[in-house]
């Protein structure tokens, strides 16, 4: 009973959503579908709350135990609670609260962009150190990467045929491989959906 009810709910919801893709004109099915989709959105919001609670638990414990780097946990919790409190205060303006907007625009956005920008230097170092022609396979990979890298930028158009060959690589071999992967993913998704609807897959209960 403890496991049968969740399995029955999951199977019923899956069957209803699946039927709405094949059956038209049933108001009951459409109403049930709309209700389920709204529930999913609300459950997604609750998942965010659970995530916030988990972050709180982990970092509060680190601060209490004075583990190495606890000061960073403190900063994280302070900023997070500040933004949450300012956003949910009645009459505070929500996301348009000046403190929240300032924190996002002048703290979060630059820091996040900075971290991502460091990737350019890592790629430069990796290009010099690791992209080696050690074997025939590595040679093929490095040469193909060089062609696509230079052929996709406008400066590569100065080399005759380079952009065209780069486009051929992307349109023919790369797309063939990607399509194969996507088809495999689609088949796997169908299988997983049928297993969930049939009650054979109960990993969500664990």
């Amino acid at each position: 009973m403890k496991r049968a009810v969740p399995v029955a709910i999951a199977s019923g919801v899956g069957i209803i959503i699946l039927l709405t893709s094949f059956v038209d004109g049933s108001d009951v099915l459409l109403s049930a579908r709309d209700l389920i989709l709204r529930w999913v959105t609300i459950l997604g919001a609750f998942a965010l709350i659970l995530g916030i609670a988990n972050v709180l638990r982990v970092h509060v414990r680190r601060i209490i135990k004075a583990e190495p780097g606890w000061i960073y946990s403190f900063v994280l919790l302070a900023v997070m609670l500040f933004v949450i409190v300012m956003g949910v205060l009645p009459g505070g303006g929500g996301l348009m609260n000046p403190f929240v907007d300032w924190t996002f625009t002048y703290v979060f956005l630059p820091l996040n962009a900075t971290i991502f920008s460091l990737l350019a230097f890592f790629v430069a170092s990796a290009a010099y150190r690791t992209f080696r022609l050690r074997s025939s396979e590595a040679t093929v990979m490095v040469v193909a990467g060089l062609i696509v890298l230079v052929g996709q930028v406008p400066l590569g158009g100065l080399v005759p045929g380079l952009s065209a060959f780069s486009g051929w690589l992307l349109d023919t071999p790369v797309m063939a491989a990607v399509r194969g992967i996507l088809l495999g993913v689609a088949l796997g998704t169908i299988t997983a959906g049928l297993r969930l609807i049939g009650g054979a897959d109960k990993q969500y209960l664990e």
């Binding site: 989709l37 962009a113 290009a127 010099y128 022609l133 992307l170 990607v178």
Partner: protein, 728 residues
């Protein structure tokens, strides 16, 4: 051929003693009349059955006077009628003549087949003894025939127990020829040249009495103290079951070089006792359950260390130097130890290391083209240079050079202040000036810094000094432009902002170009997002593009609904009912107060959906739940360059393609700006992107050239590191 009377072994004619048992040949033997066993002539009673043996003279008389034997036969024949008279009433069928013949013939054949032609067991012995075989056969065969004939005269079920065995009741060949009874049947050894054993000797129990004292090695037995084991216990098991002895092991107390794989001098050698105590006769036996070589030697002064010295804790040596930071070392008196002492490296003997580097040069970060080999000077320095109390000194990777300052610290008394981290690693942090020219300082970090500066300049300069590289719009970009250009006036366009601030520099030019074109086309824009930061990023883009567009009123021509959790389920919900999916917009305004949202109602009511996604998963969610679900939806996309391989299959030129066009990366933004006749951030960033790509390509090329040079120079370095011949 002379047969031995005791073992029946055939011996060459003229032999005086048996080859097998050593018995004297040529002597006359006595045949037991009861069991037919051969007995020496001096015996008066049979050695097999104890029956009284006749004298040789009487046997000779029997051979000369067969009438006595025939008289005995007549006595036996006289008893038969009486036996037959006892069972006259039984109506037993008398055997026919043929049955009697069949019963007689095999018996005679058997008797003749197991013995050599013309011989019986008895006659053979008599022949050896010099008796006449014809006379003996005349005495033996009638008895045999009589025995074989008697059962055939009575039915088998009338078998009456035989009377006590009369002398020579059974033929000789049915009796054991040899006195010692064998477990095997007697007919097995009966051959033409009867061997003593037809089976291998190891199947027989040893004749000598003998139980082995121990069948297992000594060390498996618990020996009482004081009890000395026999020197060489009898071994009943094969030798290979016993433990190897001294021949495969070095002698006790031998000096073994190369212990633990390290060559060491005699003074450094480690002596140990490899012999089991059970083999060592000098050591008295002790009570033990396990072999002695499992025990640590304790009573002999030869065994000093089983393990290398560096594994032992210092006993009463002065305060050793510690290689851990000072705050981890709590050896001051009165302070409890946080870490066990064996975690601290002990430095007991100063090692004469040259002041070159605290770390070997080959541990430093090197450039791909600089595969520096360890110089011979360092190799010699890191090898154990001098013995320290017979200790195998291992090269310590963090061995610091001996400076006067450190020597004074090491010479402190027990409990002196331990050196701090900076003191221990001072030589690492501040390399000395006397650096050997052969070991150059690693310049990898310097080159990395130089490359980083060049990369910054390459990317930043085009933003201020545009190069004006010609950018030709690609087909995907053209189709996006054509799609937006074909929108009717006041079309409802839903724009999804699906990226995070990390990719904002790449996605923002795309979004701004598309939104600007939509504004030019007077389209109504509904901004949505499934990414938490999407609402804020969308508002920044809208603020930038609508700065001068005074005709756009919020709620009527443009709406920012912001973030909505739920992923694909939220898209599906928007596809059905957009107002109820959100409830309020990004600013908290109820959706019912926004006429534009009520006008759109759902994704189906949008004339175009523009998805701006940095990650391919976000675009695939929109394609799966919106574009693929309802064919009437027209969708274009703007993606990052990294997402191109995964999204390109959905943006083909086919009419059935899910995407009607796609902008890719900074170049896509530049192409779109140029298509609109503008030159903004996209065009400027394209120059930077082009130079950055060329820089990375050159880095790959130079890295491979350096690698190739290092591979070509590697044999030279290896030869240079080897010491040359003396005298050159």
């Amino acid at each position: 051929m002379i047969y031995c009377p005791f073992c029946d072994t055939g011996n060459r004619s003229g032999s005086k003693f048996c080859n097998e048992c050593g018995a004297a040949l040529g002597e006359q033997s006595l045949i037991c009349p009861h069991c037919s066993s051969l007995n020496p002539p001096a015996n008066r009673f049979c050695r097999a059955c104890g029956h009284a043996l006749p004298e040789l003279a009487s046997l000779a008389s029997m051979a000369v006077e067969p009438a006595a034997i025939s008289a005995g036969e007549e006595e036996l024949d006289d008893e038969l009628p009486s036996l037959e008279a006892d069972v006259p009433t039984l109506d037993a069928p008398a055997p026919t003549a043929s049955e009697r013949a069949a019963a007689d013939t095999p018996t005679e054949d058997l008797a003749l087949s197991v013995l050599p032609a013309g011989e019986t067991t008895a006659t053979r012995g008599l022949v050896q003894d010099g008796l006449d075989p014809a006379a003996v056969e005349a005495t033996a065969l009638p008895i045999l025939d009589e025995k074989m004939r008697r059962p055939s005269e009575l039915p088998a079920w009338l078998d009456i127990p035989e009377p006590p065995p009369a002398p020579r009741e059974l033929p000789n060949w049915l009796l054991a020829p040899e006195p010692p009874p064998r477990a095997l049947p007697s007919w097995l050894p009966l051959q033409e040249a009867p061997p003593q054993r037809t089976l291998p000797p190891w199947l027989f129990t040893p004749e000598a009495p003998p139980p082995p004292v121990r069948s297992l090695p000594d060390w498996l037995f618990l020996v009482e103290p004081g009890v000395r084991l026999p020197e060489e216990p009898a071994k009943a098991l094969p030798a290979w079951l016993f433990p190897p002895e001294t021949e495969t092991l070095p002698p006790r107390g031998a000096t073994v070089n190369g212990f633990l794989g390290t060559d060491c001098t005699d003074s450094q050698a480690i002596r140990f006792n490899p012999l089991p105590k059970s083999v060592d006769s000098n050591v008295p036996p002790v009570s033990r359950l396990l072999p002695a070589w499992l025990f640590l030697p304790d009573e002999t002064p030869l065994i000093e260390r089983v393990l290398p010295e560096w594994l032992f804790l210092p006993d009463d040596s002065p305060a050793p130097k510690r290689f851990l930071p000072a705050w981890l070392d709590t050896r001051e008196p009165g302070k409890p130890r946080l870490l066990p002492s064996w975690l601290f490296a002990v430095e007991e003997t100063p090692l004469p290391l040259p002041v070159v580097h605290s770390l070997p040069s080959w541990l430093f970060l090197t450039d791909p083209g600089e595969e520096t080999a360890m110089p011979p000077s360092l190799e010699a320095a890191e090898a154990p240079a001098s013995p320290a109390r017979q200790t195998i000194v291992l090269a310590r990777p963090f061995q610091s050079p001996q400076t006067p300052r450190r020597a004074s610290l090491a010479a402190g008394p027990e409990g002196a202040r331990a050196p701090s981290y900076e003191e221990v690693f001072a030589d690492i942090l501040q390399p000395k000036a006397e650096v050997t020219p052969s070991v150059s300082l690693p310049n990898g970090p310097r080159r990395f810094k130089l490359a980083s500066v060049i990369l910054i300049l390459v990317v930043a300069l085009p933003l201020f000094l545009p190069m004006g590289i010609n950018v030709e719009p690609r087909q995907d970009t053209t189709r996006v432009f054509d799609t937006l250009q074909a929108l009717p006036p006041a079309a409802n366009v839903l724009v999804a902002f699906e990226w995070s601030p990390g990719t904002d520099e790449e996605m923002a030019p795309i979004a701004e170009a598309l939104v600007r074109h939509l504004v030019k086309r007077r389209a109504k824009i509904v901004a949505v997002s499934l990414t938490p930061e999407g609402g804020k990023l969308a508002q920044r883009v809208l603020d930038q593009t609508l700065l001068g567009a005074t005709s756009y009123k919020y709620g009527k021509q443009i709406v920012n609904l912001g973030y909505r959790p739920g992923g694909e389920a939220a898209i599906r919900s928007m596809l059905v009912d957009l107002p109820n999916t959100y409830g309020v917009d990004h600013f908290g305004i109820p959706v019912k107060d926004l006429p534009l949202v009520g006008e759109v109602k759902s994704l189906k009511g949008a004339d175009l959906i523009v998805v701006l996604a940095a990650e391919p998963e976000n675009l695939l969610s929109w394609i799966t739940q919106a574009s693929s679900a309802y064919q009437g939806i027209r969708m274009v996309a703007g993606v990052s360059a990294a997402a191109l391989p995964w999204t390109r299959p959905f943006a083909s030129a086919s009419q059935a393609a899910q995407l009607k066009g796609m902008l890719v990366g900074i170049r896509g933004a530049a192409e779109y700006e140029l298509s609109m006749g503008e030159s903004r951030l996209g065009v400027a960033a394209t120059d930077a992107q082009s130079l950055g790509a060329i820089f990375l390509a050159l880095a790959i090329a130079f890295g491979n050239l350096a690698h190739l040079r290092a591979r070509l120079n590697k044999p030279k370095l290896a030869r240079a590191s080897q010491p040359g011949p003396v005298g050159r």
